[in-house]
Amino acid sequence: MPAPPRKTTSPQTAKRSAEAVLDRDFLIIRAKLLEVAASLDRLAAATDPPADAERIAKIRQAIESLLDDGADHAETLQQIFSLPYDADWQERFGLGGSGD
């Protein structure tokens, strides 16, 4: 018997205030941003531009997405780095059925 669809609410909300999150994570966030910054510096110092500009564009798009308000930054960033889903893939593969 299939399980009923599940509501994706948040019964286990974080028990921390924003202040508490920053107290714990500020230096970690700083360190991770520094890693990204240093990586961009390495790209800037590189002798030749990349043959494929797409990866650079995705990095830029991902960084820009972090400036948006909201609570879905991780999911948004994951989607930026994902190939698209083709709902007609089964028809294209000749496997029958259809995507949703």
Binding site: A3, P11, F93
Partner: protein
Amino acid sequence: MDYFDPHIHMVSRTTDDYLALAQMGCVAMSEPAFWAGYDRGSVEGFRDYFRQLTEFEPTRAAEFGIQHYTWLCINAKEAENVALSREVIGMIPEFVQRPNVLGIGEIGLNKNTKNEATIFQEHLDLAYRLGELVLIHTPHLEDKYAGTRMILDMLTGDARTDRTRVLVDHVEEHTIRPVLEAGFWAGMTLYPVSKCTPERACDMVERYGPERLLVNSAGDWGPSKPTAVPEFIFEMRRRGHDEALIRRVVYDNPREFFSGCERFRFAAR
């Protein structure tokens, strides 16, 4: 805290890892059949591998008080070889009734090809005909979202699918919601760079709740920590979550899902 690692590839780990796992509270593990690091040449290679999963590894684990379970399949990467895949699928029934076998897995997609999808569906057909649990690998990195959607299409498109008996593994922020909303179990893999961190896994537990969620280390050939699940436990405690919630994700949920297999004879300590 006693815990399960529901997805770890011990054939690729030294015995020292069993000792570390036992010392950190691992009481049981499940090891899906996976890629050997190279493409195997024949069905006999898989026969030997299945013997290793069903004979040697449970013996090695038992020396450290860990109960070892396993899953059988040809993995998504080698599924591109359709002829070999069909030979392996034909051989699985020889092993599936062995005491530590939980079901068919880790089947799935790798680069989301037609051959991979074909063999995935043939594995599903075998699992449903035999009444076995199913453990699913979702692709890495840029292929994960599309591959997960394709997998869900195939699962929901088969009227025999019992969603309570299917675990979709390696979910991340962009795939966890469709998997859970469709009624399947979901596994979060704590693996550096290409998958999830303990912190992000905690975020997802906080966002979606513990129902039908598991965490695992997927320790394998690559740089990976077999002690990743204890790191998740530690992070949850640091955030102030109670022991019952943590235990639900790392012990009760795996135990509940695996109990769907009649051969699962877990002895709690």
